[in-house]
Amino acid sequence: MVDEKLKIELGKQGILATTIQELYNWGRRSSIWPMNFGLACCAIEMIATTMARYDMARFGAEVFRPSPRQADLLIISGTVTKKMAPQVVRLYNQMPEPRYVIAMGACAISGGPFKQGYNVLKGIDRYIPVDIHIPGCPPRPEALLSAFIELQKKIDAQPLTGEGRPRFLDAEAQGEFPVPEPGEHDLEPASNKGVWPVPVVIR
């Protein structure tokens, strides 16, 4: 690793000193294209984040792609209901690696204010792995920008080999997550135990 001051000195001379991991991750994190996926109220704040006042395009989210095949980031904005959950998991399966998920708002994290609901899924991380959670109801556009920057920092810190490498460089990692089926009273299965182990409450 090159010392920061030395890097800046060399940079003034027109020499770029970096590692392949830094360069690779810099390219990946500076062009995250989210998918056009809004479920409920948080979607309006997400749209407001892309508008002129809190412009998200300057962070790399240049366009919102409607098709999952062309998107890198799935921002779950709004309540995920049990009727909608299979479609969300299917969309997530259709996204090519590398893909990230931001759970925006209280409803996507844990069901939110509608937790006591027969049709509300108590958090999307029951079925798909989530990278960043943003609390709030709805979170301010600045909070979404902050989460986006956190995601960028997380991508920067991902090593290319070894333990914490991203899924697409790991041959054994699970790529496709099982889609739940609507049952008679509830979704079957109620959660994906591989993704969401039941937390033990320590009292």
């Binding site: 109220c41 002129a52 909608m84 479609q87 204010p113 509608f114 049709n119």
Partner: protein
């Protein structure tokens, strides 16, 4: 070849005997229909909403809407908690216009309990409701243009003004979108004179925006070619199907609940109700544009005349609020249509039955009628002109 076999109630002069069914359009060759599920994830379905289309080439033969992808059992929650605890949940019904939802619920509960509202609170309610109407209609026009392919530029103009109004909401109520501001018997917090001055400044700057917005869009060739004559809704069908809001007025029916029910203090303000002639998408777009101007008129008058005084009725009970047994139905003219709340009280702190009459759901009754025979691309426009919000459709 498509041959229209029977037209019941669609374009006839005599009122039909049966209910107003959509016309049956038979396709020439059997088994040639393409079935497409549009949604729930689609760039232009305004939320998680699915339409099962049966197409003959590009023409729509059958359209069945499917909802429930955002059903968050708001009504069941309302039964399990007190009247006041349901107020923040009403914000999340029609999540773009949270203050009008609050007002509708407060109005229904005030009818149920027989509560009075002080004058300054009524003025504040009108001011906030009209601001909500302006930002909703501007956003709706922006979303309609985005469906048409404008890639967000009119939406950016609309959201620029919306941000100014949201700043005002945040200064007064504490939140940009989910305001939770109205209470039974008035409003939660009084507006300071500084807030009123700032509101006057913002409202003074809005007519320029509306002029610019309208001038850029009104005679746009593409808009006119794509929306005139598309998705026509006839008056009889509209009234029979329970349509309310700009959708009804664009078909030429003069029914604005602000003028009919005389709720609040709308009688004191001088404003007109814009009506459309043809009932197509262009008329709905123009009705919304003109309604923004009428709302500005109301705002100017209200901000000038607002009196001093309390904002909460002194006799209003906040703790231990138990209205007498009975029921009440209260409704207002929300930007989407008639938003009504039906409450049954059994004397306890929680309502026995808490029902929301959703304008967006009932406005979708005629989606099939408007879209039959049109192209698939027009279906997107028709849906955009109905202006639905899924939080309200599914509750």
């Amino acid at each position: 070849m498509i041959k229209i076999v029977s037209k019941l109630g669609f374009g006839r002069k005599k009122k039909p005997e049966g209910w107003n069914r959509p016309p049956v359009i038979e396709s020439g060759e059997e088994g040639e229909l393409l079935e497409v599920a549009m949604g729930p994830h689609h760039p232009s379905t305004h939320g998680v909403f699915r339409m099962d289309l049966a197409l003959d080439g590009e023409r729509v033969i059958r359209l069945k809407p499917e909802f429930g992808y955002l059903h968050r059992n708001h009504e069941k929650l309302g039964e399990g908690q007190s009247y006041l605890a349901s107020m923040p949940y009403t914000d999340r019904l029609d999540y773009i216009c949270s203050l009008t939802n609050n007002w509708a619920y407060a109005l229904a509960v005030e009818k149920l309990a027989g509560q009075e509202v002080p004058e300054r609170a009524e003025y504040l309610r009108v001011i906030l409701a009209e601001m909500t109407r302006i930002q909703n209609h501007a956003g709706s026009i922006g979303f309609l243009m985005q469906d048409m392919g404008c890639s967000g530029t009119p939406l950016m103009y609309a959201f620029r003004e919306r941000e100014k109004l949201l700043d005002l909401f945040e200064k007064l109520t504490g939140s940009r979108m989910m305001c939770n501001y109205m209470r039974f018997g008035g409003c939660r917090v009084d507006a300071t004179p500084e807030w009123l001055d700032e509101a006057r400044k913002v409202v003074a700057g809005l007519p320029e925006f509306v002029d610019e917005f309208e001038a850029l869009l009104r005679s746009n060739e593409i808009l006119m070619a794509r929306t005139q004559g598309v998705g026509i809704l006839k008056q009889d069908l509209a009234v029979n199907a329970g349509i309310t809001g700009p959708l009804l007025r664009a078909s030429g029916v003069n029914y604005d609940i602000r003028k009919v029910d005389h709720y609040g203090i709308y009688d004191r303000f001088d404003f007109k109700v814009p009506l459309g002639d043809h009932g197509d998408v262009y008329d709905r777009f123009m009705v919304r544009m003109l309604e923004i101007r009428e709302s500005l008129k109301i705002l100017e008058q209200a901000l000038k005349d607002i009196p001093a005084g309390p904002v909460m009725d002194s006799k209003a009970k906040i703790r231990g609020f138990r209205p007498k047994p009975g029921e009440a139905y209260g409704r207002i003219e929300s930007p989407k249509g008639e938003l009504g709340f039906y409450l049954i009280s059994d004397g306890g702190p929680n309502p026995y039955r808490y029902r929301v009459r959703p304008p967006s759901l009932i406005n979708l009754t005629v989606l099939e009628d408007m879209a039959l025979g049109q192209n698939v691309a027009d279906v997107v426009l028709i849906l955009g002109s109905v202006d639905i919000v899924l939080g309200e459709v599914d509750r």
